[in-house]
Symmetry: C2
Subunit: 159 residues, 2 copies
DNA sequence: CAGCATCCTTTTTGATACTG
DNA sequence: CAGTATCAAAAAGGATGCTG
């Protein structure tokens, strides 16, 4: 069973990062944490919106989802088994679950060719693709900071 | 106990998104516990780098870590209880765990004022701050696509 | 206040076994 | 091939009590 609610936090987030929303790619400098004021058309739907954002992030901030996003983004349409090979480490169960969830969220399309043996292909939707691009910043960050993190952990251990 | 390894996937990722990042060029490394010899031009250190990136992403792609990142980024240095209030939903146990992990990774600094009653402040490091900024793209994406996701789920349900 | 320790429940994940 | 179903193990998380 695919739980639709991985986790939901009744939060009061106020993510300043949305202030000048220009979406992906430009992760260089956002400056001052301007106290949130920007409630243009949807005044009190803010709380709801933030909950949704939270939930979505929770959903996509998943190990396998991100891996699948990357693999599918990288290799175009793939068959189930091929995805599994490329994701290296995912169990069949988890892969099924992940892909189904992504499908339900509109991140991938699942195409079944009614042949024997079965042939099923998975491909990112444009939304899935754009999510991959949105994650770009995090990927770059991780790559850029891997060494500092390693050192920080080392220092923390030795403390 | 803080597990240092939330999950490790021996992957062969190839994230195209790093195409133009200079990223790996500047860190000449000292003692590397890995069997790989660090090849400077990032030729076959790719596999190792990608594993690390994977691990880091796995670490930061955590519900509470992201929330803490946001709250601390938004409100500057905060005391434990205040963070907990702002994160609304986190248990004391999880908050402690999350903050400790972030501290170990060099994302936050934990300052203890030896007074009675105890006074402990948490503040993002510059690295933590930059991670928050890196997540900007995902946040924006989530905000922008929340409706499409909701509709996609609806459609999937009714399918 | 800011935790740590302990117990217990819930979720998640892995390992098979089986099927159209 | 691409799954489903089931059982068992493990991890995550919550609740409570205690402490300097």
């Amino acid at each position: 069973m695919l739980d639709t609610n991985q986790w939901e936090v009744g939060t009061q987030r106020s993510y300043r990062y949305l202030k000048e929303s220009k979406v992906s790619s430009e992760i260089s400098e956002l400056q001052e944490p301007t106290p949130y004021v920007q409630t243009s058309p949807a005044s009190q739907s803010d709380a709801e919106l933030e909950d949704l954002v939270q939930e979505i992030i929770g959903r996509v901030a998943d190990k396998w989802t991100m891996l699948a996003l990357d693999v599918l983004g990288e290799h175009g349409p793939l068959r189930f088994t091929r995805v599994r090979e490329l994701m290296d480490g995912v169990s069949q169960k988890m892969l099924t679950k992940t892909l189904r969830q992504m499908e339900a969220d509109g991140l991938v399309v699942r195409t079944v060719y009614p042949v024997i043996p079965p042939h099923v292909e998975y491909e990112l939707t444009d939304m899935g693709l754009s999510l991959g691009e949105a994650f770009c910043g995090v990927w770059v960050w991780a790559a850029q900071h891997r060494e500092r993190i390693r050192l920080a952990r080392q220092a923390y251990q030795a403390r």
